[in-house]
């Protein structure tokens, strides 16, 4: 692709993302903020699946970031953006500690082990009222401090402002994850997944790379959790339960995890289906039903996820647009 085309594409996307909230209703703007945060969650989840491990504790890691950031801002009085970063760091460190027992396991055992570890953390939040607030969680978490940028006055009770802020953070997170995946580290992640014995014989510490993937992905999940906590102003244990985890799993699997954009497609499509379609026809209760059927349908009929569908569609598009090559 010529360079000017790329530039035009980037600018058009940027304009679209900036203009998007202004064509939506207020409640849709709120959904947009959640979706932006969820994209970071599901993409960080995919980073872990690159090494072949499927976790059921990822949403709890998000919760660790949310709780840590909320507590730091509320009890210690840390400046909110700094608290968010520290929240992400806390989630990464908790993941580092958990990796010691968890990476003695693989496959199904890791899946169930990560669930157990996450559930223990969640139950600790529920049980210990003193720092964590018990089942009701933490309320009245400090919001992002407002500031004026000259061209845009950021008041963070307004979803549009928070959307811009979250978008910036999420894009930065996605950029880092993209660079990691395209770097030699990302190649090793793939090697650890598909050829772990070969990787080991080439002198690669498989365990170290698994740990790196878990720590990085948990850190970004924690960042997403912190973004969520300071937006809605409250966190509680039920926000990070297995049901939420299943939603993240659904986005990732329905979208497909082979490419970077697959989980994003999954998250966006399912959010649109859920919020626009289901809410409009008043079938919000049917969300688990739709998600469950999509999950089964994807596994049975579209094992590579929606990204595969996009792939095929674009191939069909190319058939019509591209000149047939000589000799074919």
């Amino acid at each position: 692709m010529p360079r000017w085309l790329v530039a035009v594409g980037v600018l058009a996307t940027a304009a679209l993302l900036l203009a998007l909230p202004h064509v939506l209703s207020f409640s849709q703007r709120e959904v947009l903020v959640f979706m932006t945060i969820n994209i970071l969650v599901v993409c960080s989840y995919r980073l872990l699946t690159l090494t072949g491990e499927w976790s059921l504790g990822h949403v709890v890691m998000m919760g660790v970031g949310a709780y840590a950031s909320a507590l730091l801002a509320k009890k210690v009085g840390v400046f909110v953006p700094l608290a968010m970063l520290l929240g992400a760091f806390t989630a990464a460190m908790v993941a580092l500690v958990l990796s010691v027992p968890l990476f003695r396991m693989k496959g199904f055992y890791f899946l169930i082990g990560s669930f157990a570890a996450g559930e223990i953390i969640r139950l600790l939040w529920k049980r210990f009222r003193d720092p964590f607030g018990g089942p009701k969680g933490i309320k009245r978490i400090d919001p992002m401090p407002d500031f004026d940028l000259g061209i845009w006055n950021f008041t963070f009770f307004d979803p549009v402002s928070y959307y811009y802020f979250a978008l910036l953070v999420v894009l930065a997170g996605l950029f880092v994850m993209w660079r990691v995946e395209k770097s030699p580290i990302g190649l090793v992640f793939h090697a650890v997944h598909w050829q772990d014995n070969l990787a080991r014989s080439a002198g690669i510490s498989v365990r170290a790379y698994r740990t790196l993937a878990l720590v990085l992905s948990s850190g970004f999940a924690g960042l997403a959790g912190a973004l969520l906590a300071h937006y809605i102003g409250t966190v509680n244990p039920n926000m990070f339960d297995i049901e939420q985890m299943v939603y993240v799993l659904t986005w990732a699997i329905v979208g497909g995890t082979a490419t970077f954009y697959g989980p994003i497609i999954g998250c966006v499509v399912l959010t649109v289906v859920n919020e626009i379609v289901l809410r409009e026809i008043g079938l919000e209760q049917g969300r688990p039903m739709i998600y469950g059927m999509l999950l089964i349908g994807t596994v049975l009929f579209l094992p590579k996820g929606l990204e595969d569908l996009f792939h095929r569609l674009s191939r069909i598009g190319l058939l019509f647009s591209r000149q047939p090559r000589g000799g074919q």
Partner: protein, 289 residues
Amino acid sequence: MLELLLQTGLNALYAAAYLSLVAVGLVLIFGVMGIINFAHGELFMLGAYVVVALYSGLQMPFVLVAAIGLVFVGCVGILMELSMFRQLRGNPLGGLVASIGFLMVLQALVAMGFGVRMEHVPPFTQDVIILSERVRLPVQRLIVIIVAVMLLVALWLFLKRTKFGWALRASAQDKEAAALQGISLRTTSLIAMFIGGALAGIAGSLTAPLISVTPTMGHSVIVAAFIVIIVGGIGSLEGAVLAAFIYAFVHTGVTTFLDGVIADIVGLALMLAVLVIRPTGFFGSADRA
């Protein structure tokens, strides 16, 4: 103190009885098909809702309703095999994800049909066996224990003494060798799913008057069942039954003397510890894992 211990023991015995029914089915399905059925807690829940619909609703006799629960949920198990697992043979992650999808559908269906509120199921008998001043065993719980023992013995005889049982164990041990002997994996999978579903269903039906029945009740059951099959060694039926007893005693004990949330934490920590120290469980063989 002795009386409290005795009462706790009886409560644990009852919990172990229905838990082992659920866990044994889970182990059987995993053994034969290699699939971890996340929807197993929801099969338990379906069994309870059969009671809500037919016993509290239509006032049918409880024994009949329990039998219907057994057969109906067994058939749901067959439905799962035919609609999903058969197509996903050799893809354990796919089977697991599909079963998560299935559990969401079941929960949603029940929530739509019955509402999300807790259902009240009237007891089928009020009788209580009074062993002493403070040690009491409600007959309902005794019946759960008796039926569980009977069904487990029946399952054991089925697996060890009948041709189908041999076929089932053969395909659990080595699928290819079993297939070479003319054992149809399709048939053994159907049988395993029916038995697994039926055991979860009857466990749900029998305990429906004793626990709070909601569409999400399967969650705590499946977590307990996972702990049990991990501690017992995945793939080992005897291990599952024994682990159900250990877990039920620990959980009931901690709940009685400390509190319920701590008991849940202890259970999960027990599972994590087993996963770290001895991933094959205490009774599983190394090659099976």
